[in-house]
């Protein structure tokens, strides 16, 4: 078994060898610029891009012309939100999003607030889902965009996208979703789901880093975004810059593989995730974070009370996972996503995210369970909080010396 075991597939995924194989010729013999219209080198590159566009479109149920290639999901989020804000200025300046969004959405909204946008940040319920009544109440005639993520990167919960889209449309607003964690993992169909704009990236679905997509609806309604980069007018004028042909070809192949394998793969991953989660949740004082009904099949987020996440990760150096505790500054900020579920800071500091993927095996999950149990027990032996808990002391009644 490879060590350490990689269980951080929400951060990034390894490139599938089949994707690499598809990409390789585009670095060497098929190196042309897809915008070169008057020689074979350009045509060959363009063919590769066109085919990839078809592969992507098939996965999400749209047409090829609705795909704008970007450098990744962050750029797609920026282009979608800023582009809509500028294009629909006349109609209004109000944007609705949620507090659990990725920073690429939140910080883009914060940026727009400085430029005259009014942004509503919806809170979430303790299971991580937004309250539809709250969304409905937040809609105004000036609302131009509702941007709510599909599946959350930290806890994996899936928002009620269809219902959100319906509310947005009822009030004449566009619906955008950051679907970076969902596309390729669960069925996402822009028409069934009522999506007008959607951002995602290749490296979360076994494709290369540095390439992503902004889906922009062309019919019912025809959506336009103002370009955020000036230049040669690539991607139907919405995103200038020479196309990353090998990356795009890789993204296309990655989409195709996900489409063909998603059905069986999601069942396999959910079974492994459930095994991991159920076993670990049997440990004393462990808590599963987020809704367990509506969520991605490959994510588990668990808090082990009375141990600190970063210390725990160090004890699990054989596992590559991620923690909601960021002990890297004097302020020691725990995850804002977990905090928004109403988790106390100490539980947020005690959380570990396991992200399973295509190459995760059952033997690795068994090992991950063993390593985690051992590490949690070891650290609890070291933890004054665990000792106090065992003695029946109410930790909330202690006057802690804040620092």
């Amino acid at each position: 078994m490879k060590q350490p075991i990689y269980l951080d597939n929400n951060a990034t995924t390894p490139l599938d060898p089949r994707v690499l194989e598809a990409m390789l010729p585009y670095f060497t013999e098929k190196f042309g610029n897809a915008a070169s219209r008057n020689h074979a080198f350009g045509w060959v590159a363009e063919e590769g891009v066109d085919y990839a566009r078809e592969q992507v479109a098939k996965l999400i149920g749209c047409t090829e012309k609705e795909i704008i290639f970007t450098s990744g999901a962050t750029e797609a989020d920026n282009l979608g939100i800023k582009g809509v804000f500028e294009m629909y200025k006349e109609k209004g300046n109000h944007i609705i999003t949620a507090v659990t969004e990725h920073k690429a959405v939140l910080d883009t909204c914060k940026h727009l607030e400085k430029n005259g946008a009014r942004v509503t940040y919806l809170g979430v319920k303790e299971d991580g889902l937004i309250d539809l009544a709250e969304l409905e109440a937040a809609m105004t005639p000036e609302t131009i965009l509702v941007s709510i993520m599909y599946g959350n990167n930290e806890i994996g919960v899936i928002q009620p996208v269809k219902e959100i889209a319906a509310i947005a449309h009822k009030h004449g607003a566009l619906f955008m979703t950051d679907a970076t964690q969902a596309v390729g993992k669960i069925p996402v169909d822009v028409n069934t789901d009522g999506i007008d704009l959607m951002a995602f990236s290749a490296h979360k679905m076994y494709g290369p880093k540095g390439v992503g997509v902004l889906y922009v609806r062309r019919k019912n309604p025809r959506v336009k975004v103002t370009a955020q980069m000036d230049g040669g007018g690539h991607e139907r004028g919405m995103r200038s810059g020479t196309l990353n042909v090998p990356g795009i070809v890789g993204l296309g192949k990655a989409c195709e593989l996900c489409r063909l394998e998603m059905e069986s793969e999601s069942v396999r991953l959910a079974a492994l995730r459930d095994k991991l989660e159920t076993t670990l949740n049997k440990m004393e004082e462990s808590y599963v974070n987020g809704n367990t009904q509506h969520r991605l099949p490959h994510v588990a987020n668990i808090s082990f009370k009375y141990v600190e996440g970063e210390g725990l990760m160090m004890a699990m150096s054989d596992l590559a996972v991620s923690s909601g505790s960021a002990c890297t500054s004097a302020s020691l900020e725990p995850s804002y996503v977990l905090k928004s579920l109403g988790l106390s800071d100490d539980l947020a500091h005690s959380s570990i995210r396991y992200g399973l993927g295509r190459f995760t095996t059952e033997a690795e999950i068994d090992q991950a369970i063993e390593v985690t149990q051992k590490a949690v027990n070891h650290l609890r032996e070291l933890s004054p909080l665990w000792e106090m808990f065992k003695e029946g002391i109410d930790l909330s009644k202690i006057e802690w010396a804040e620092h």
Binding site: E308, G311, L382, W386, I398, A401, H403
Partner: protein, 137 residues
């Protein structure tokens, strides 16, 4: 973040983990930090004749650097007089463990824990508490 070898050593083989009888008048207990900040240290000293620290124990909730800082502190405390213990500076810990700047607060917490344990012992034995320097707020 890459940890130094010394941090890893203390983390994997923490010295002096445990609990002393906090009700004994020879024992001083310092409990510093807060769960919501992500680190809590409890450091205890047992003081014998001539104000010499005969034993020291710790338990820490926190990251690897916090655990290593408190483990190292207990090692240093044993055999020192209270006055010598008071002179332990957090920067000594930073240097010994090669802590990066973002982890300096772990050493500050360890220094606080030492002083807080000494104060607890002093107060128990009818001495005045020493005013702590608040260097890190």
């Amino acid at each position: 973040m890459a940890y130094s070898e010394k941090v890893i050593d203390h983390y994997n083989n923490p010295r002096n983990v445990g609990t002393l009888n906090k009700d004994s008048k020879f024992v001083g207990t310092g409990l510093v930090g807060a769960p919501e900040c992500g680190d809590v240290m409890r450091l205890q000293i047992e003081v014998g004749e001539d104000n010499v620290i005969t034993d020291a124990k710790f338990k820490t909730f926190g990251c690897g650097s916090a655990i290593a800082s408190s483990s190292l502190a207990t090692e240093w405390l044993k055999g020192k007089t209270i006055d010598e213990a008071l002179s332990i500076d957090n920067m000594d810990i930073v240097e010994e463990l090669a802590l990066p700047p973002v982890k300096i607060h772990c050493s500050v917490l360890a220094e606080d824990a030492i002083k807080s344990a000494i104060n607890d012992y002093r107060v128990k034995n009818g001495l005045e508490a020493i005013v702590l320097e608040k260097s890190h707020h």
